[in-house]
Each structure stands twice: as C-alpha cells, then as structure tokens.
Amino acid sequence: MIEILHLSILATILISGFLALWFRNLLSSVISLSVLSLFVSLEFFYMQAPDVAIAEAGIGAGLSTAIYIVALRAVGKKQFRKEGEH
C-alpha cells in the first residue's frame, strides 16, 4: 500500500515536470512547476526529511511561484509568439 503511494508521488513528480515543459501557456507551466515542488516536498517528507520538506514547500511552492507570476505579469504584453505555434 505504502509503495503504491510512493510510486504515485514519484509519477506525479514526473508528470508535472513533463507538463511544465509541454504547456505553451506560461502561467500553466508555472502552476505545474508549483505542483512539482509540492510533490517533491511530500517525497522529502516520506524520506523522513521534514526540515527540507518545509523549506521546499515554503520556497519552491510558495515564493518562487509568486516571483514567477510577478515576472510573467511584467513580460506578458511583450511576449511574442511565432506564427503556426499556439
């Protein structure tokens, strides 16, 4: 049972990392990076490193997402997209 939980955490890390690369919309990409940080923090907690889990949840899922979103709002109007891509 606990192995299934662990494997599902690892699979979610992989899937959200892939989605962060795959999304064309940058906001969705940032949100899936935040989900990746959250599940990496769960994995740290499973590996009995609660210190690192708190730091990862605070910085990876909270602060860096906020900083990325502030930066995205700044460059959002100048974002340029080639024809044929969407």
């Binding site: 906001l27 889990a53 708190i54 730091a55 605070g58 602060l63 906020a66 979103i69 502030v70 700044a74």
Partner: protein, 164 residues
Amino acid sequence: MNPLSVVARTVCNLFAWFLAIFGIYVIVHGHLTPGGGFQGGAVVATFMAFLLVAHGGEKMQSWVRKDRFTLMECFGLTLFISAGLLGMSKTFFFNFLAKAGGVFGGVLPIGPNAGALNTSGTIALMNLSVGIEVVGGLSMILLYMFSAAHPQEPMGREESGHDR
C-alpha cells in the same frame, strides 16, 4: 498587479494569519521540532507574497516600506553575529546562556522527556535572528521584484474576475 476579486481577498484576509502564525511557530520551536529560522522565515515571507498577490501592489506598498525590511535584515544579522561573539570567552558561538536561568536558560530534568521551550540557550536566539533576517530578505526580494516589474502602476482599477 491589480487586486484580485473580493472572494480571493476575503479568503486571504481569513487564512493568511494562520500562515503567519505557523511560520512564527516554526521559528520559535526551531530547536525542538523540524524546521528552524530559515524554514519559518520562508513561510512568513510566503505570507507576504500571499498579501501581495491578493491585495495588489499599491496597497502592499502603502502597508509596508522596503527600508524596514532592510532594517530587519541588518538587525537579524547583527543579532546573530553578536550572539556568536558574546561567547568569545570560551569559543566562538559558545552557548553561554545555557543553564543560566532566565528566558533562554532553563534546565531540563535528566532522562527522556519531550523537551521544553526555554532550555536551549543561544540556539533559540540564533533561530530568532535567522528568522528575522530571512523574513526581511525574502520579502525585500519580492517587493523589489514587484516594483521593478511595474514601474508605474495605474491606480484604482480592479480586476473583474480572477487573475488573467
């Protein structure tokens, strides 16, 4: 960054305080439970990010000032290094407050116990100073990032829905 809708602001007003209390708990209990000054400071700085995203930049800049965060950072670093230097009669970072009585120097009974909050000597002081320093530094990163990204912000507009 414009403020979000009234739903997001109400949820922020209600639940951001739990975040701040949790961060201060992690800082104060740094020597007993997982976490410490850095982790708790990161959680409290997430509280500042929460307020910034929900209430927008103008309100945040009317509530706090950036030089206060610089002051917090300098104060935390000075407290840390002076807590190290004050034990200089034995060694650098000597725990001179342990078992000395008072706020930081309680004495634990021998044997297995759960630990008490006031028994750690200078370690709690160092956790507090690192917490103050990290709150100041990370909040300053956020606010400077915001003010660099939005040099002049149109006043008085409110977004109709959620972000984007």
